[in-house]
Point group: none
Chain length 246, copies 2
DNA sequence: ATGGTTTGGTAACAGAATGTAACAGTTGCA
DNA sequence: TGCAACTGTTACATTCTGTTACCAAACCAT
């Protein structure tokens, strides 16, 4: 099969060259662009499977470009930004971005996100978005958001604590998407300053919480199949999730 | 589906920014306003699903604004106030507010209230508001306010004490809305200074009362389905309530 | 292949929050 | 007036959750 074709939109030469080189080494065909004019040329020239779009583009704005692209293309878009403004991320999802990565980022995380978005294709999914009344089916399990209950494959209800349920919701909202501990913590505790690195024990708290949830929903908690560890990144919910409105 | 759109009316910049940031992170599109003039502009600009309205607005008064809005809009309104005046809360309901939150508040509580009000739409419901002659149906049970009797699903009447009935009324008036122990205590005892934190034993008294009511109306008091515990917040009546005028 | 470093798993602990049995004082009724 | 019911209070038990420490696994340099 052909290599996935990425478009990297970044006006900073050093950053652009670094991203292009790294992604090419990782097995992608990568096309660089500096502004919307160049984006258009690349899109007209051939198939693009995913766009990595910097938000700060000199005189142009990545959010505006994203919105403009959505008028005509269904191509997955990952926004990349150095800014940590809380509302910008939400704005990104509002203009149709599929994911959002904050600079500076671990190249492994970038790779994981790119692969995740490529795998699931274009479909908005965010860390914070949750429909409380939906029913989620995953791996033989069911989570009923309206009744707030978890049903095991054997039909029995499993009691989860508030934090465990919160973590499950985050995972259900982001299947196949690697999540850092910071992202998980942000989703569980909205008062946390987003983007702030976790302290040592805060990160361990996420690890312990993941372990506790695993012990309740994994057939083999020591060899988890649903909540996988992504070393150096965080965790990924490696199971298909079917959502039904309540 | 589209994100719920909230309007936060707060003249204190720090408080407004904090609420806006928190609510945006929680998955809402949030629009700030400082006074009635700005409110009008936001409402004219597009759909608003809920208004969070501070009562103390410099030279303007949130209660007056609420009343004014009710002349023209059916948008749910939650009043937010630092004052603890008992009658102010009643005034709020009288001018058409859907809910009332006293500062300082737990962000989780704010979120829970916003979601509850959005879910049930515009419909007056308050902690203290009670139509004593109504008939309430919930979870197979019935409470007849006129006769002041509780009928179990099996058709038999269940005797509740005065305090237990009082608690039930509070819960029936606020289905799906997390209530703190302070709010429950305020509703049960009108002479209590509203907004005052409960003493240790006062809070335990609410816990014991909840336990006693659970033991009478829950199929499994140790695993309650109607009166759920919301750790760190209080309790929530997690059952649909159908009200019929007597 | 080996040793050192980094990262993640998890058992154990501690503090906070909640459930509840038991007790005592209060209230209402016969 | 006596008694039963009611209700607040207390104390103990249980649950929840963050933190710490130890250990195992993975990774990297030599």
């Amino acid at each position: 099969m052909s290599l996935p074709r990425l478009l990297v939109v970044e006006d900073d030469p050093e950053m652009r060259d670094m991203m292009v080189a790294f992604l090419r080494k990782s097995g992608f065909m990568v096309f660089p662009a500096v502004n919307q004019n160049e984006i258009t040329k690349v899109l007209d020239a051939g198939r693009i499977d995913l766009i990595l779009l910097d938000v700060m583009l000199g005189r142009e704005n990545g959010l505006d470009i994203c919105q403009s692209l959505r008028q005509e293309y269904e191509i997955p878009i990952i926004l990349v930004s150095a800014l940590s403004a809380d509302d910008q991320r939400m704005q990104g999802y509002q203009v149709g971005a599929d994911d959002y990565i904050a600079k500076p980022f671990n190249p492994e995380l970038l790779l994981a996100r790119v692969r995740a978005v490529l795998r699931r294709g274009h479909r908005s999914s965010s860390l914070t978005y949750r429909r409380n009344t939906s029913v989620y089916a995953f791996g033989g399990w069911t989570y009923d958001g309206k009744k707030d209950v978890v049903i095991a494959p054997d039909g029995f209800q499993v009691a989860l604590s508030k934090r465990e349920t919160g973590l499950l919701k985050v995972l259900l909202a982001n299947p196949h998407i690697p999540l850092t501990r910071e992202e998980i913590a942000d989703s569980l505790d909205f008062t946390r300053a987003e983007g702030n690195a976790l302290g040592t024990s805060e990160g361990r708290a996420i690890d312990v919480l993941v372990g506790r949830l695993r012990s309740k929903i994994e057939a083999k908690p020591k060899d988890p199949e649903m909540i996988r560890t992504q070393r150096g990144v965080g965790y990924v919910f490696a199971v298909d999730v079917v959502v039904t409105d309540g």
